[in-house]
Symmetry: D3
Subunit: 132 residues, 6 copies
């Protein structure tokens, strides 16, 4: 249960509907995810967040699937259940194979382990890693 | 400053030297990073961690650069300074361009933001994301 | 489901009832939240935690609503679902408006984003920020 | 040491200089913090982040000092050293008194403690906290 | 709901069944926890994780109950609901008393509080704590 | 560098000196750690925190060394550098052996790894773990 009610298309203001329409057109789906329906209580926040995510997740020097994998990795470390589910689904819809998912999990698990070990040991950064 | 002294090759036991030698051969470098020198107080932990990381970071369904990018993303979310520096350096040595790094940062920043918003709003997972 | 059973007023020891009574009197409600009922397995921990929270959340140099907003912000970053719900409800009962809540969300989202960016970039603290 | 070199005004492109100029004008200072100088490797990210922070931190339903206190609280929970220093300095420059800072610390410490206790006990959300 | 279907013994490959059999023999139970059934999509990851946990959690310089308490403490700080429940149950089955659990909670709560305070204050490490 | 100046014994108020004196007597040392000197700007917070930590870390159902190990584990997961150093030093002074430290590190690393895997997979809690 969210801390606010979800705003459906039928009940939305014109400013919110405009964002919902752009989400639908960009993603080629009629569905609007709960995240946007919760954010819509602040049309400015909804608009700002959607515009950013549209720009950031577009194809560029990194391909859209790689960006989804990175999004999953961050969401796991931050413990965001909703984000893990939505971006795992998005990665699958963008072609993530079972083998890729298994390797993603392996890297995520490994990184958590060495993050923990390094932090416990408070290892100092090697000079060779430093930017000149 | 680390919580233990670093064990240099000259002072290492044969079991530790064997791992150091494998790191050098696998990575085609004479350098042994501080992380391994700190872990070496427990040869079993050193061996176990190195064998895992060698297996997990090898080319597979995901390429080695993508794995480094994922490692950076997790390390940032966990706030591990050493890991951020070492894997950013590793990503660069594996060909990460400035444009790719900029997009990595954009995705990481965006994911942190929406992780925070979703968590604050406690948005419920959409049915469509659920695995059947 | 919690890891312990909840201790209801009827089943509580006199030491626990005394804390429950003080919570009811201080908060002007008959309700005892699940948190206290779970903590009550250790009357000392219950007493210590309640006394602290009563002292810390009382009006002072910061007003009670500002303190609730801060509590929400920390709870979001720590991913504590229960705490997010209970302190969002408390903030509303202390007068938080929808506009204030929207701005709280915006600051929380923004802080998460720049926290992620700064940590990824490992930016050094400017001299001007340092306390003399 | 950051993972990238800092871009000074003298070496910046016109797009970056335009943001630097707006930061200086908005904040009424000649100083550009290291965060912006590190972000400037991606003029688009620099521009997007600055425009957001300018909008989010402006006076509104919450006053600018309250927003800085919230920023500190999130940054502490995320362990972002740079952000803690920069926003503590910003809060002081916006009038945070020693008494307010002491109470901020008390709330932050208390929230961390109860976040930990609630999470350990996995307390279920009370029905009364739920949004209808 | 997990992001993958759980693999039951009946549907498992011989490699996965071999790990399930070893879990059952080692733990003297017929039950296989959901974690292993989810991991089993990658037999290599399942095998690697199980072998590690078997080695790490075995009696040694620290007794098995102390190791479970440590596992709970880490899982709480990382906000892993499943891990908190499974390791709290494991600790109880290894003899954790109510008094020990109450003290574990007290230390966990205290550590979270002082972690938050120290991080907010950015206290510098005392020279006396440094390893020579 | 901390966000506040450290308050030395010579410059402390009588209320602060009383706490410093109790720390010295309890710990049988002349040294006052930086944490207390930073907290001392709020004598009430100093007093409250010290009284709690004295109560919580005293011998009880868990021995003082186990409590220090738990404190390290939480501090690692929260990324608190100061806390990691101070409690690792405290554990050593209370008799932690190199073998115990190595096993602590192994459990901490393992817990971080499985926390990450479980969170990524969003594994549901087994019925058998649930408290009746």
């Amino acid at each position: 249960m969210s801390t606010v009610n979800l705003i459906e298309y039928e009940d939305a203001s014109p400013a919110v509907r405009a964002v919902y329409d752009d989400i639908r057109a960009t993603r080629k789906t009629d569905n609007i995810n709960n995240f946007w329906k919760a954010l819509a209580h602040s049309p400015a926040q909804l608009e700002r967040t959607w515009q950013q995510i549209k720009a950031v997740m577009a194809p560029g020097a990194l391909d859209p699937l790689t960006k989804e994998l990175l999004y999953i990795a961050v969401s796991v470390a931050n413990g965001c259940e909703y984000c893990i589910h939505s971006h795992t689904a998005a990665a699958r819809s963008k072609g993530m194979t079972d083998e890729q998912y298994a390797e993603l999990l392996a890297v995520v698990g490994m990184a958590h382990q060495t993050n923990g070990l390094v932090t416990a040991l408070q290892v100092e950064v090697d000079d060779m890693f430093k930017v000149r």
